[in-house]
């Protein structure tokens, strides 16, 4: 094929996908930036250019700070816990334990179910007085406690749900990677007299690094976009204790209908995701060797 013809073909093939990407990813990202510089149009007041006013308002908004801090705690709670659990699950399921197909299925099932549905189940699980958690703790003589209704425990409760939902998903990737490690390596380290722990630390774990990176990126993104369970379980309450950034955006944009302030908040989220992408690229890419 001649070069010119090939280029025309190439762009024609790309056109439909690129047009939709431009319309629903690139344009909205740019429009968000523009919108954040304007005031929200109200019936008798058209939108006006306000510069950085929305950003100043945001910095002075205690709920924004609360949402940001909550989200960081949520990320800090979900990311290491779900990755560590996923690794343990994969190591276990990779060994010849009895009934490992059933065990693997138990770990993986939460992944295929809708978050909104399992959040309903967990809501019931946490219910004061007759929820399962209260009943089990009651057997051990733990006094009654409203887990989701108390600001100090609510965030931990929704974090646990996210870990439960995610760990099995990440396990799959670790399992696939573990199965690709050549058995010769285990034999060689055994000959060298390495303990199982050493083998894991010096052989398995480094070889799993690309998987860990992949899982880490996914976990970071998920930590900032998982809000379905917040909508079902707490609606950000009590007293904004479980308000995450995206949930606050949803609230500002579609409950208070303040679209430009929601755009301003979205900018923070986009900046965070961009920073995560950049950090992964600059910092981690160098330390992880790809196959």
């Amino acid at each position: 094929m001649r070069r010119g013809v090939e280029a025309i073909y190439g762009w024609l093939l790309l056109l439909p996908a690129m047009a939709l990407l431009a319309l629903f990813t690139h344009w909205p990202a740019f429009a968000t930036l523009l919108a954040s510089l304007y005031s929200t149009p109200r019936p008798r007041r058209p939108a006006a250019f306000v510069g950085l006013d929305n950003y100043h308002a945001m910095l002075a908004d205690p709920v924004f700070w609360r949402a940001l801090v909550n989200n960081l705690w949520f990320a800090l709670g979900t990311i290491p816990a779900s990755i560590a659990l996923a690794l343990v699950m994969a190591l276990w399921v990779n060994d010849r334990i009895a009934g490992r197909a059933a065990v693997r299925m138990a770990y993986f099932t939460p992944t295929v179910l809708p978050m909104i549905a399992v959040a309903n189940v967990w809501l019931f699980f946490y219910t004061p007085q007759y929820g399962l958690l209260e009943q089990i703790l009651g057997l051990f003589g733990v006094p009654a406690h409203n887990w989701l209704g108390t600001p100090s425990t609510a965030l931990a409760c929704v974090t646990a749900v996210a870990v439960w939902k995610e760990a099995g998903f990440f396990m799959i990737f670790y399992l696939a990677a573990l199965q690709q490690i050549p058995p010769v390596l285990a034999e060689a380290s055994a000959l060298e007299g390495a303990s199982r722990l050493t083998f894991f630390r010096r052989v398995q774990f480094p070889l799993l690094m690309p998987t860990t990176l992949f899982v880490l990126i996914n976990a970071v993104i998920n930590a900032f976009r998982t809000v379905d369970h917040i909508i079902v379980m707490t609606r950000g309450g009590p007293d904004n204790a479980t308000t995450l950034l995206l949930y606050y955006i949803y609230q500002v944009g579609f409950t208070f209908w303040d679209s430009t302030y929601a755009a301003t908040l979205t900018m923070v989220l986009l900046a965070g995701l961009a920073a995560a992408a950049l950090g992964q690229y600059v910092f981690l890419e160098r330390r992880v060797h790809y196959r």
Binding site: G10, L13, M18, P28, A31, M89, R96, Y107, I116
Partner: protein, 275 residues
């Protein structure tokens, strides 16, 4: 010694016990929901092995909300998304994998951008766009932002790149045009990737919630996830047992499909994740 680090004896027993404990813990909330859904309301918090099993909760839930319509909507949504995704992603992936043209690298970077900035976080602006197009509260409005999927393009591009050039050239010698080659050589060879991507896409969009919640407002457009939320968050004090029944009902098709095709599911998710 074939597997020197495989645990045996007491170590194996300990590991098995740990794995099973965790598995039980993992399945506990679901088991609880199943128990509650299949028993009369008075047993929803009492565990009596002799409690009568009944389907009454499912009957009540099914009558209380238009779940049949919600299922139809979800089915339409999932098929629409998948059909459009397969066509668009195949074309774009083919261009990226086998065509040389100016601006290809930049275009690819622009595509990959969507892996980080997903439609999920652009809800405010996308809502305005849908309003401007005039399709708020419709199934296409739920589907559109997800149709051009960076993930799908990336996955198929990787698959197409592994196809030997010789096959491509052989088909061309026999007189096939670029689209003919795509359909006769590339698509059939990438079948496992299509299955993998299809399963991931279907389960993602069956489960998707926030965007459909925002963009739909009527029974005619709502998928099951939103329908379930509308149903279970009404203030008229619905029994927990009925909510559990409704929850199981909405997840049942996916759960049954998962249990039947467990191996394919797991392998698909694996395949879709390894780059």
């Amino acid at each position: 010694m074939s597997a020197p680090y495989a645990p045996r004896g007491a170590g194996l027993a300990l590991e098995t016990a740990g794995a099973w404990m965790l598995a039980l813990l993992w399945i506990l909330p679901l088991a609880y929901a199943v128990w509650t859904a299949f028993h009369p309301a008075e047993f929803s918090a009492r565990f009596d092995p002799l409690a009568p099993v009944s389907l009454e909760n499912f009957r009540v839930a099914w009558r209380a909300a238009p779940f049949a319509r919600y299922f139809v909507n979800t089915f339409l949504l999932v098929s629409l998304v998948l059909a459009c995704q397969l066509v668009l992603c195949t074309l774009a992936a083919y261009a990226f994998a086998r065509f040389q043209f100016a601006g290809r690298e930049i275009a690819f970077a622009l595509v990959l951008l969507q892996l980080m900035i997903m439609p999920d976080v652009l809800i405010v602006e996308n809502y305005r766009t849908m309003g401007r197009i005039g399709i708020l509260d419709s199934i296409p409005a739920i589907a559109l932002p997800y149709v051009a999927s960076a993930f799908g393009i990336f996955l198929l591009r990787q698959a197409f790149k592994t196809v030997p050039r010789e096959l491509d050239e052989a088909a061309r010698v026999e007189g096939a045009g670029p689209l003919g080659v795509l359909l006769k050589v590339y698509v059939p060879l990438a079948r496992p990737i299509y299955v993998a991507y299809g399963l991931v896409s279907v389960s993602y969009h069956w489960n998707n919630f926030l965007w459909p919640l925002i963009v739909t407002s009527s029974v005619e457009a709502r998928p099951v996830t939103v329908g379930l939320q509308v149903f279970s968050s009404t203030d008229q004090g619905i029994e927990w047992s009925v909510i559990c029944a409704a929850t199981l009902m909405t997840t049942a098709p996916l759960l049954v499909a998962f249990l039947l095709f467990q191996r394919q599911f797991v392998q698909s998710f694996m395949r879709a994740g390894i780059r």
